[in-house]
């Protein structure tokens, strides 16, 4: 249930993000979800990709600072209050979230969650019959 997310450190210079997406494209690596965190000095790109290990390799070759981060991907109904139920479970288990990003299409919403305790989060959410995606489930 734990998914390897690709994280890329980006200096705030023009064209760096373009280079990342071009490099991944050239290696036939698809992106399913991503978020970009920015500070005044740098940005961090977090991406769910079809082949995390190859992505790391080809970006490293291009001189990028990259790493893989464990995340989980939760699926909830696209209805009011659905996400809050899942978050309640995590907070009841004292699992804190570092960051998350989400997208909703039609009836379902997917939420990528980063926590220091991924295993524990998976266990807690599954206990409560929450739906989690496996890496293979993510349709590329």
């Amino acid at each position: 249930m734990i998914i390897k997310q690709l994280s890329v450190f980006l200096e705030n210079t023009a064209g760096r993000l373009t280079e990342v997406s071009e490099t991944l494209g050239a290696h036939n690596i698809n992106m399913s979800a991503f978020s970009l965190a920015d500070t005044s000095e740098y940005g961090i790109l977090r991406v769910i990709v079809s082949d995390p290990l190859s992505a790391v390799e080809c970006l490293k070759e291009k001189g990028f600072s990259v790493s893989l981060t464990d995340v989980i991907c939760l699926v909830v109904p696209h209805t009011p209050g659905a996400l809050s139920k899942a978050l309640r479970i995590l907070s009841d288990h004292e699992i804190s979230i570092e960051y998350m990003y989400a997208f909703a299409v039609n009836e379902r919403a997917s939420v990528v969650i980063r926590t220091d305790e991924a295993e524990k989060a998976v266990e807690a959410l599954q206990q409560h019959k929450m739906e989690l995606m496996k890496a293979d489930d993510i349709v590329f």
């Binding site: 997310q5 450190f9 760096r16 740098y42 600072s65």
Partner: protein, 433 residues
């Protein structure tokens, strides 16, 4: 306007005689009292009796900053600790400072040479001297202080920083002399203009500037903006602190107090002494100091010596403004910094790769230091909170070791050029030459 005419205007033959006598006596002393020098001399097959005058100076071993570190803290002192009345220290590499000690007589010598320096710059007992060099372990503040009191000027011991207070006291107390780093003088000039204070509101006449390299352009700018004469002084704690050499009102090079500190210029590669007028590394032997006498100290400063007559009447040999270093030391806001210090802090922390780049600049007349550090591989967290904590931690460690404000910037892997030989670790944008 000469403080000690006997020594400062001495004929060359007599000066050679004085230096020779003092050198012979000093070598005798250092051989018997400092095990380090005794070993070094024995390794060269030298005994004190082999040194008969300054013509034998070149036979003696060199001393380097590393020797001072290896003998930290008191290993090179030539007197019992009971004779030491003052300790100063310069900022250290990896937390180990260079320590220097003074006997009561040394403090007297120091006051004497600084008094000469001040008189050289036209200071007398009617002056008010605002000492904006840092007081404390740094030799700048207290060195100027004792020399000013010896001369009889009224000392305003304000120390460094606190710019608004500097300006207020400068105006209200009628300071006529300002002693600080040249970059701080320009910073003060800027602050003055912002506060609407003009040179006419002040009584400033002369500035005594040192502790960092500065250019002729900076001198002209300081002289114009503050409407003063800007005098260059030179000193280093290993030799004594301020008072080693100073410009006179002619501004044609810095007169070296060579009856106390014998200068040589050596070739950086062969380490052989060069004739007067050649450019090379400046080396000093202290012949009168008791606490920490030093044989042939390699300053790493590059300069040229001149012995032609100076219209001021002093016969003391002169050195050019230092134009560079034979090592990679940086002087930032008067603080000596070696790139290796940055590297050892990073290695010691073990939370980044030890790839770094130092960007030194002068912004609004103040030196700035920016340290670029690569985030890479296992050290790269994709959580901003952790990256910010890392930046803050690096900054904190650097600031407490180096003693100056540092800006830390995280950069991408391989931003910093790798090199087989000597890596480019420093970009100095200050244009010192």
């Amino acid at each position: 306007m000469i403080w000690n005419e006997r020594y400062e205007c001495m004929g060359r033959d007599e000066m050679t005689q004085v230096q020779s006598e003092r050198l012979v006596e000093m070598v005798e002393r250092i051989y018997h009292n400092v095990a380090f020098y005794r070993r070094k001399m024995q390794d060269l097959g030298l005994e004190p009796a082999d040194i008969k005058g300054i013509e034998d100076l070149k036979k003696l071993p060199f001393t380097t900053k590393q020797d001072l570190r290896d003998n930290y803290p008191y290993g090179l002192f030539a007197v019992p600790i009971s004779e030491i009345v003052r300790i100063h220290a310069s900022s250290g590499t990896t937390g180990q400072p260079t320590v220097v000690g003074y006997t009561r007589k040394d403090i007297g010598i120091w006051s004497e040479v600084v008094a000469r320096t001040l008189r050289c710059a036209g200071v007398d007992r009617h002056d008010f001297i605002q000492i904006a060099y840092g007081y404390g372990l740094f030799t700048g503040g207290l060195g100027m202080h004792y020399g000013s009191e010896k001369l009889g000027a009224a000392v305003i011991p304000i120390s460094g920083g606190n710019t608004q207070k500097q300006l207020q006291l400068m105006r209200d107390f009628g300071s006529t002399i300002l002693a600080c780093t040249p970059s701080y003088a320009l910073y003060l000039a800027e602050a003055m203009e912002e506060s609407g204070i003009t040179p006419k509101d002040l009584s400033l006449r002369v500035g005594i500037f040192g502790a960092e390299p500065w250019t002729e352009n900076m001198r002209r700018e300081i002289e114009n903006r503050l409407q003063i004469k800007a005098i260059d002084i030179y000193g280093l704690s290993e030799i004594i602190g301020p008072g080693v050499s100073s410009e006179c009102m002619e501004q044609r090079g810095l007169h070296i107090n060579e009856d106390h500190f014998i200068p040589e210029i050596i070739d950086v590669t062969t380490l052989m002494p060069l004739p007067i007028g050649s450019k090379g590394e400046l080396v000093f032997t202290t012949v009168t100091k008791e606490g920490l006498p030093i044989l042939r100290y390699r300053t790493r400063d590059l300069t040229t010596l001149h012995d032609d007559a100076c219209p001021c009447g002093r016969t003391l040999i002169r050195m050019d403004k230092c134009t560079g270093r034979s090592d990679d030391m940086l002087i930032i806001r008067g603080v000596n910094i070696f790139p290796s210090q940055i590297e050892s802090i990073l290695l010691d922390m073990g939370e980044t790769k030890p790839h770094y780049l130092l960007i030194v600049d002068r912004i609004n007349n103040l030196d700035t230091l920016e340290v670029w550090v690569e985030v890479e591989g296992e050290y790269f967290s994709d959580e901003i909170r952790k990256l910010e904590a890392l930046t803050a931690k690096i900054r904190h460690r650097m600031e407490s070791t180096l003693g100056i404000t540092v800006k830390v910037k995280l950069v991408e892997h391989k931003t910093i050029a790798r090199s087989e030989g000597k890596a480019k670790r420093v970009i100095d944008k200050r244009n010192m030459v």
